[in-house]
Amino acid sequence: MPDYNEYLERIFDVLKPFAKQGILLNEESELVTELGLTSLQVMELIEQLEDHFDMSIPLNILPDIRTVHDLAQALEKLNP
């Protein structure tokens, strides 16, 4: 199973086209308030990660996800 860093790397890859220009991505980047992702873009991000890792990511995890780190950690927990 992928580890935390693999999830992180992939999240960065998927986020690049979504994130506002000029903003540097890091683990503590906040998906909505900092990177400016709309709710539709968050959904798109989730779908792309599901397909890449061939896993299910329930929407229920979203209220606890604020940063890129939170997301990578949640994926690791879902796919131990």
């Binding site: 959904m43 779908e47 599901e50 299910s56 329930p58 229920n60």
Partner: protein, 396 residues
């Protein structure tokens, strides 16, 4: 920070609109002239943004049934179905719905929202899985969130994507509920239900279909997309509303699963709300009967849908992907959509303004809908209003 801070973006939009003198989300229908014409915000308009698909809101039989019910039973039940709110009419409507859908069991709810929210929140709970179409209605999202099941979306109207997501579930498929709609309310597109049913047959799970916008429109009996696609046996639960083709308010769920009788008493949206008032039940029963007696209304509705769709498409507007009683015109720029909505109203056509997040994409929509009761001349006037707005400069 205060509790009110999060509402500021909404307040800002309201203030912008108020400054322009435009109130798209507070339009007041001052007088109904018929099922297709009204006075809205002081303008005489053709109603091209209602869900009165069969035009039954002023049918004499429905009016008389409602009036008689008020005289005989009063204005309201004053209680929930589980307490004092089950009248003979509620039971009769449940029986008639079950007969109409050719299902064993049925439940009547106080609104369509309560039906979808109630079923979605009750059928699947913690530890269960719900796989739903990404463009599902807010009432479905609200319900599944409340229920606590793991919620997974599949791409809108994409059976191959559903297949992929069901495969990933493995053994969890045994406690999985799949939720789709028949016709989607914003774009008017139909679910590919035959293919979705095929995926369900391949993996398992239960299937719930919300036929809110398809009741009375599709299928030999008007039972909706499931009937039209010939897959009613694959659909475990059909939910829907009385507030569109039946012209009243309320909702229903029908099923062949005997367990529905027990499920009824677990649905909080059924238990803890007052039951529909007698007049609502009476007019709904009359409308359900008329819908069956007058299949030609379906033909009129689809002829009108084709007429409006062709007319708006010919203007070069970006219309929904397929012909449907809901014809959505996509307007990318929000301010342009607001401006068009306002000028359409002034030119005698009332349509629905839909902005994100209510629209399925980042674009805004001018959502039009037709009724069987529209005349061809009225449809022409709606098209003419769009042409007029399109050909005049944008207002400041």
């Amino acid at each position: 920070m205060s509790l009110f801070d999060k509402f500021q973006p909404i307040a800002d939009i309201q203030a912008d609109l108020q400054a322009l003198g435009i109130m798209p989300f507070g339009a007041v229908t001052e007088k109904l002239l018929s099922s297709t014409e009204a006075i809205v915000n002081g303008h005489k308009v053709i109603l091209a943004g209602t869900n009165n698909y069969l035009g039954l809101t002023f049918e004499p039989e429905c009016l008389e049934a409602a009036k008689n019910a008020i005289d005989e039973l009063g204005t309201g039940t004053t209680g929930s179905r589980m307490a004092n709110g089950t009248f003979a009419g509620h039971v009769a409507l449940e029986k008639e719905l079950a007969e109409f859908f050719d299902r064993k069991r049925s439940i009547v709810f106080s609104t369509g929202y309560a039906a979808t929210m109630g079923m979605g929140s009750t059928l699947a709970g913690p530890g269960d899985v719900i796989v739903l179409d990404a463009d599902s209605h807010a009432s479905i999202y609200d319900g599944v969130r409340l229920g606590g099941a793991d919620v997974i979306r599949f791409r809108h109207n994409d059976p191959a994507d559903l297949d992929k997501r069901l495969r990933r579930l493995g053994d969890r498929i045994d406690n999985t509920l799949i939720i789709v709609e028949g016709i989607y309310s914003m774009m008017g597109d139909q679910a590919p239900l035959a293919e979705i049913a095929e995926v369900k047959r391949k993996y398992g799970g239960l299937l719930l279909v919300d036929e809110a916008h398809s009741l009375g429109m599709l299928g030999d009996h008007g039972r909706g997309v499931a009937e039209a696609a010939g897959v009613e046996d694959d659909v475990d639960f059909v939910v829907g509303t009385f507030s569109k083709s039946l012209g009243s308010i309320g909702g229903y769920c029908v099923s062949n699963h005997d367990q529905l009788d027990a499920i009824r008493f677990a649905i909080r949206a059924y238990i803890f709300t007052a039951s529909p008032s007698p007049s609502v039940i009476a007019s709904t029963r009359a409308a359900l009967r008329l819908m069956q007696e007058r299949p030609y209304l379906r033909d009129q509705l689809w002829a009108n849908a084709q007429h409006l769709y062709d007319g708006l498409k010919a203007l070069g507007l970006q219309v929904s992907p397929e012909v449907s009683p809901v014809v959505a015109v996509t307007i990318k720029n929000r301010n342009q959509a607001i401006d068009w909505w306002n000028r359409l109203l002034q030119r005698g056509a009332y349509v629905n303004l839909v902005m994100p997040p209510a629209s399925p994409t980042e674009d805004s929509l001018l959502r039009c809908s037709v009724s069987a009761a529209h005349s061809a001349e009225q449809i022409d006037r709606i098209i003419e209003a769009f042409a007029n707005v399109q050909n005049t400069p944008v207002a400041n």
